[in-house]
Amino acid sequence: MADDRINSYKTGPDENGRFGDFGGRFVSETLMPLILDLEAQYEHAKTDQSFWDEMEFLWKHYVGRPSPLYHAERLTQHLGGAKIYLKRDELNHTGAHKINNVLGQIILARRMGKTRIIAETGAGQHGVATATVCAKFGLKCIVYMGAHDVERQAPNVFRMKLLGARVIPVTSGRGTLKDAMNDALRDWVTNVRDTFYCIGTVAGPHPYPAMVRDFQAIIGKEAKDQMLEAEGRLPDTIIAAIGGGSNAMGLFFPFLDDTDVNIIGVEAGGKGVNAKMEHCASLTGGRPGVLHGNRTYLLQDDDGQILEGFSISAGLDYPGIGPEHSWLHEIGRAQYVSITDVEALEAFQLCCELEGIIPALEPSHALAHVMKIAPELPSDHIICMNMCGRGDKDIFTVAKALGLDMDQG
């Protein structure tokens, strides 16, 4: 498998924010002093017990952690192979894993004396989580959201407004997540003194990929303990869906040095990973490039222009991926696959019918891959999948895709 000289996969990034060749700090000079300051503040907070005490208190009493590890018995039976567990992060307050990270960043922002919080959002889950925590702490919140996503995720736009956030529809580019991130960066460059940029995934310039991973790693830490309690051993395979890759990094990170555990990341295959590029599978269908402050695998054309990608899931609709995933892919510690819209929709329905859980479209991609591999595996093979979000936000999209009329019932 990987290089023998590496005796831990958990030491990255290096002091330049690199995971192997990936990551880094590709930002304009105006932002450079800000991200160096953020890095210093985070390094300090990381070793400060009172910072983690505050996190743990809020994770428990505000978010509802730990999230259960649930044996999906009927799904296991139906697929007739591996034993399937779901890590229930969809039960978190605000309905996804995003709030794990937001709490960390907002506590840090408060320590840094920042009063204005900006965020980008695709599906709206990160925007809702940020608006929620800002409401709780009385902070001003501005969320950039692609105009196209504002349309397809209308319920989340309304939620953010109820929570007191200002949602700014982004019309530059083609109006999806990558454009929202561009505009958030433009805001930050303009409002350098009072503003904290709360990034929603393990991307962006160093220290964001490492910091967001550390906040999301609570998912994998809990899953590990819970699995040991339930089964007396670690799972054989862990699986998560990947947009930017934060829920996946959160599940994977604590398991990286347990080399008997197979790690699988599932990218959005859209209409199929082929030359037409109507997908968001950066690792399976892209090549290395530099965007949004880091080097990573990107969907791009021959001229190095970034492509928009395509996925039924707004949360996966991003042409890049966190740099640590690019590294794990290149060294072979994790395996990355893709799942099409059609396959994800099937998994979505199956999960509703067999488990009474309406999953978000994002983890439906991970579930679709579980459906592919579980039947071929023995019954003593344990799979742990990250059910990172609930599907309430997606019911309109799903109804449309299935050709159903919600008013007719």
Binding site: N16, G24, R25, F26, V27, S28, E29, T30, L31, M32, P33, L34, S172, G173, K178, D179, N182, L185, R186, V189, T190, N191, V192, G289, V290, L291, H292, G293, R295, L298, Q300, D302, D303, G304, Q305, I306
Partner: protein, 263 residues
């Protein structure tokens, strides 16, 4: 000595400030853009900043974002941008051309290949917005080795402690971004810019040129008078976006250049 160094030596001898004009290569199309670029020296432009279009220009305001989109839609690429510089060089061997843009198209082409091609096309310097000194190994150092100037942006957030780091591998000139913000935003006051330029000059002998937010001959003059020159981008690009004939665009450029030269 690069064309940039030679140009500043000439300006110094003449006791004149520099006027730098930015246009997006390929906006609104290759032929019109080439015609505009060819007309810039006669309109009083001392240094040409040629924008390299990119889909995700995170430091640019709407005016330059849209210019990039128009250029890309009209089929502009890195290769065509270099071809345009080479075409310009056939009739002008003295006006420096600085390529300004983002790293990914260059990285995608391959740094060594790009540098050889850029040098051959007559490019003199590079301003790559998303390559701070922390990433100097990527392009800055190879570019200097290849004989191209690497021009760095200094900003209001670059404090005295950081300035030496920013200036270390800079050559040609220093581009002072007078505001915290994106291109096309409101201009800084000359009264605020002067002390900042002096602060930078205390650390370097390189010329300091100031840009961002300059859109009139008056501001061009005011800013140039407190620095070694002024840069105008969005205001010129806006004229092109409005569909003005090339001669009118160049008349506007001339008025800005005259402003800077009167300083």
């Amino acid at each position: 000595m690069t064309r940039i160094d030679a140009k500043f030596a000439d300006l110094l001898a003449a006791g004149q400030k520099a006027f730098v004009a930015y246009v997006m290569a390929g906006d609104p199309d290759y032929a019109t853009s080439l015609e505009i670029v060819k007309g810039l020296p006669a309109a009083g432009v001392d240094i040409i900043e040629l924008g390299l279009p990119f889909t995700d220009p995170m430091a640019d305001g709407p005016t330059i974002q849209l210019a990039g989109q128009r250029a890309l839609e009209a089929g502009q690429t890195l290769q065509k941008t270099l071809a345009m510089a080479a075409e310009f060089r056939k009739s002008d061997d003295t006006t420096p051309i600085v390529l300004m843009g983002y790293y990914n198209p260059i990285y995608s082409r391959g740094v060594d290949r790009f540098l050889a091609e850029a040098k051959a096309a007559g490019i003199d310097g590079l301003i790559i917005v998303d390559l701070p000194p922390e990433e100097d190994e990527e392009l800055c150092i190879p570019a200097q080795k290849a004989g191209l100037n690497f021009i760095r942006l200094a900003t209001p957030t670059t404090d005295d402690k950081r300035l030496p780091k920013v200036l270390t591998n800079t050559s040609g000139f220093v581009y002072y971004v007078s505001i915290t913000g994106i291109t096309g935003a409101a201009a800084a006051e000359a009264g605020d810019v002067g002390p900042e330029v002096a602060r930078i000059k205390a650390h370097t002998d390189l010329p300091v040129i100031v840009g961002f937010g300059i859109r009139t001959p008056e501001t061009s003059k005011a800013i140039a008078s407190v620095a070694d020159g002024a840069v105008v981008g969005s205001a010129i690009v806006a004229e092109i976006a409005a569909g003005k004939p090339v001669s009118e665009v160049l008349d506007f450029v001339r008025s800005l250049a005259d402003g800077a030269h009167r300083a």
